[in-house]
Point group: C2
Chain length 596, copies 2
């Protein structure tokens, strides 16, 4: 059976030392999260993930969710109890405003904790994750009445939230959606249509479910310009706030999926269900994007989380499994064989995963801080810069963390040999669960297009120029530091590749957009590698400074070796992506469709 | 539901035009496989795979195999009937010698057909695949009596075969195995022990199962030098050849696995079962290696097969699914959206898979031909050269085709968006099924070590030098051909990288074997890319010549574009592998085991 330990030492190093989040104590909520409070919260969160959520992970996979004839859905054994405890612990509203019952703490903290919850039990973690996304959307676009009606109950875990976008014939291209909304005399709407792939669409964890639904108001324009957002509760709410009768929305079936069996993925049928407009008419896409950006960050964290838990179990197995002898001679001559961790190829796998995990975790903290600043800073310029960075980094983080996170679960499974293919070991579940993160909240190809087509050119490239400026300045500042040379030189090379790729896009994609499309995925991966390189340089510098100041911990030594593995083995991939980008779209676009 | 069409046009192009197998008509069996006979056989095999095996693929996944309390195992509905048809069609003994009931046709043909069978139904294809492996081992090492007793019945499909190597505590490191063999007065042995992960270990497809079992004879040396190979039938055989009583071997349980549910993966308990020595005492590893080399080729084919069927379904979906508009403007303005094949990122995925599939298929034919020559040529020098090449290419083919084949099923699944995650679509089954091929018959890390540690230095590097000579000569021969420049220049660069990597290993791995271990996987991938580059150059040349001679088929045009995609987008990865190899083992080996 797999195990999990939350990486508290690494998280504390990032929050306290690398990003020094106490520097942001001027932002609302940050001073409440002082170092000791933070560490207490993190260690409670770790305990909950390790002791309550992780033991339910395999049960969730085996049992899955069951839909009954009346349309109700039962979650796996233990989920309901765990969700009660989760809600009682206040984890749902950690970053929600105090006026709605939340604790107002930084999103950075919530995202850090989300990693623990997901690593322990990804299918479970989606229930609160979606609820937090719905809270975020209502906070920005909901009326005061909507906020008061829905948010405190979601913060308390009495109700949960969902996102309803996809329909059978449209996922990425929401302009095609057919769900209709008809205005009623009382200002509400009757919603009718079918939504598919609705995570947590129906379940037994909470008394009510708050569906956020995209639909087209009668007479609205075609395409995405005619889409509005509605809030549609599973059960109607009486004037006194108590639960009323059931609304016209029901779960038609649940999907048989590759993984995340513990989360109910529903076909939701809306049959004249009563809903209320969220935000302005026909501005549903903008409103939904608020939720999607939060959600995309959260999905990126899922990639990291699955990679981390897979790594931990592979490392344990590699230290314990005796098989063969070290190439350099027996390392455990008293045993029938050496543990397989003596083999360079096993270490290559483990270090590849670990070097990603630690960079990805740094990127999550760095990006979440931008989210906090963007939402909480009083300084407009600072807010603007943070929003720029957040917008730029969101597709990279979602795409690269889930692609690599999934690939890493496959690598970790390989360490187990044949045993990795057997269900009881749990490694194959990580692979199956992690797979979805590359698909939902915008398939990764869409993230790449969002980066290249929208985020890059926006405001004349202001965000990307700021990023180049920041990384370039960092490299320059530490270019003369001999100890940092193993990190700075490769970072500068990689940044150069990204700048060349960006230049190539500027020169070639305006006139021929297919050049952008054919380059998009490689550009996203290149961007991710450079960001990781920057994260590693910053972590290495802080580790070196702490070591120089007398800290002799094994953690810091391991950090530096892992960082060197990253720059030696993983970062050089930037050149490959640049070559692919520069090869253009001609060959890719040459064949007629029927030739495939 | 997924579909499958065997790639007959591509196979015929390879056999007839690229490798011109009629040139080998001097070898036994080849002249029986004249072009028309070959095409008839291939088209029958295609039909069987498409019409009989493919429709059983999802049933096999859903039902899996069921073990009953008496230890018997039932295969999924339809498998038994299909296996009867398969046997009746003569497919099991296509390449087996005529004296044992086979048809004596080239292994090249059998491997080509194995692709069809596996693509249609991987779990099913393993039953005949293992039987063919057992036939191969007995042909080389069995006594005349053993051959006569077992081979004709396996060729007829009345009996099937298995390989029993792995035990709970040992897979890769067979030197640790504990299964015991005690010699009996009649010359037979009593075999006792537990074997795990035994594919097709117990089932209801045949009257008897011929287990080939590795065990240690009482008093034999420790380690791999004391291992012998035994043949242990499930049911004993009477003197007249009829089936006798059951032997002391039974299926203790079947594994719950990630995929290939239609194949029964058994724990086999040997409890004083009667077995007979195959080959010499304590020479079991050599005997088993015959079977393993055959099997490794077959597993490589599985990687290709899964990649091919996944590609075909992704291409169909990409042509049909309407979503979004082309970046260059609407392509199907009469429809609500364009088919997603207009998007460069979708084409990037499809072409990446296809460019691999066609190169991998060429490599399978090329390598299988070496196998045929090695086994059938009367010319010792020719046989020797073919054996060298076969030995060198086997780990590359197994490792690279299964790694990339699996990765391609994941890419193909991505084309489906959320629908790819849903079981009914069948794409996620391809991913789960393909995953095992990276693990069994020697995990791919072991293939890489076999390449670097054994195959490369063997006979003073004779095999690798011959390969460099052949590819270098080909590049030189066509270096002046302008039409071939897009293929030859990148091939030469890639070959240069492989030669540099080889040189680096010669200089750095002798004194420090961990340098070889840390380089092994990257070296294997680099080797695979260069081989694919060579295959593509040869295919491109033949296609260009045919086009110049007036052949205007769409097939040839598509071939050339796909080849250009390979050299532009995939082949440049060689530089990355070289950089990783040259970074050495220091960082990889630096951390103590407890730091992981």
């Amino acid at each position: 059976m797999p195990s999990y330990k939350a990486p508290l030492e690494d998280v504390n190093f990032l929050l306290n030392d690398v990003f020094q989040i106490d520097r942001y104590n001027n932002l609302p909520g940050f001073s409440d999260a002082s170092a000791d409070v933070r560490e207490a919260i993190l260690s409670e969160a770790a305990k909950f993930a390790e002791e309550v959520l992780q033991p339910l992970n395999r049960v969730g996979d085996l049992e899955g969710c069951v839909r009954h004839d009346d349309g109700s859905v039962t979650t796996p054994k233990g989920f309901k109890e765990a969700f009660r405890q989760f809600a009682a612990g206040g984890w749902l509203g950690l970053s929600a405003p105090a006026e709605y019952g939340g604790q107002g703490l930084p999103v950075t903290l919530t995202q850090t904790i989300a990693e623990f919850q997901t690593a322990a039990n990804m299918a479970f973690g989606m229930y609160p994750g979606l609820t937090q996304g719905a809270i975020a959307a209502l906070l920005v676009h909901g009326t005061e009445e909507q906020k008061k009606t829905f948010i405190p109950r979601m913060v308390a875990g009495e109700w949960t939230g969902t996102m309803n976008l996809t329909e059978p014939h449209c996922g990425t291209d929401l302009g095609l959606l057919r769900t209709r909304a008809v205005k009623q005399p009382d200002g509400s709407y009757k919603i009718t249509g079918t939504k598919i792939f609705i995570s947590a669409g129906e379940h037994d964890l909470a008394d009510n479910i708050v569906h956020l639904v995209l639909a087209r108001i009668e007479g609205a324009p075609a395409g995405t310009k005619g889409i509005s957002l509605f809030v549609v509760p599973k059960r109607l709410i009486n004037a006194d706030g108590s639960l009323g009768g059931s609304n016209g929305v029901s779960c038609g079936s649940i999907e048989h999926k590759m993984g995340i069996h513990g989360n109910s993925t529903c076909v939701m049928n809306y049959d004249g269900a009563t809903g209320w407009l969220v935000g302005a008419e026909n501005k549903g896409m903008q409103a939904m994007f608020v939720m999607m950006n939060e959600a995309r960050l959260g999905v990126g964290v899922q990639g990291l989380a699955m990679s981390e838990v897979a790594y931990q179990n592979a490392a344990i197995y590699a230290r314990e499994r005796l098989q063969g002898r070290a190439l350099s001679g027996p390392q455990a001559p008293d045993k029938p064989a050496d543990p397989i961790i003596v083999h360079p190829d096993i270490r290559r796998i483990l270090l590849s995963i670990r070097a990603f995990n630690e960079a990805a975790r740094a990127m999550v903290v760095w990006t979440s801080l931008k989210s906090d600043i963007a939402h909480r800073s009083a300084d407009e310029k600072e807010r603007q810069a943070a929003e720029d960075q957040l917008g730029l980094m969101t597709p990279v983080l979602k795409g690269v963390l889930t692609d690599t996170g999934f690939a890493n679960t496959v690598l970790a499974q390989q360490v187990f040999g044949g045993h990795g293919y057997i269900a009881e070991q749990g490694m194959e579940q990580f692979v199956r669960d992690a797979r979805i993160a590359m698909i939902y909240e915008g398939a990764n190809g869409i993230q790449a297009l969002d980066l290249v087509g929208r985020k890059l050119p926006r405001d004349g490239g202001r965000a990307v120029m700021a990023f180049f400026g920041e990384v370039g300045a960092y490299a320059k500042e530490h270019g003369g530091d001999e100890a940092m040379a193993p990190f700075i030189a490769p970072l500068s090379t990689a940044l150069g590749h990204l700048q060349q790729a960006t230049m190539w896009l500027m020169q070639n994609a305006m006139a021929k957009p297919d050049n952008a499309g054919a380059a998009a995925t490689d550009y996203m991966k290149l961007f991710g590698l450079v960001t990781f390189g920057y994260m590693w340089a910053r972590m290495a510098k802080v580790a070196q400074d702490k070591i120089a100041a007398g800290d002799g911990s094994a953690y810091l030594k391991t950090k530096l070796v892992t960082g060197r593995f990253f720059v030696e083995r993983l970062l050089p991939e930037t050149a490959l992506h640049l070559a692919r980008i520069q090869s253009g779209c001609a060959t890719t676009m040459e064949l007629p469709a029927e030739a495939f």
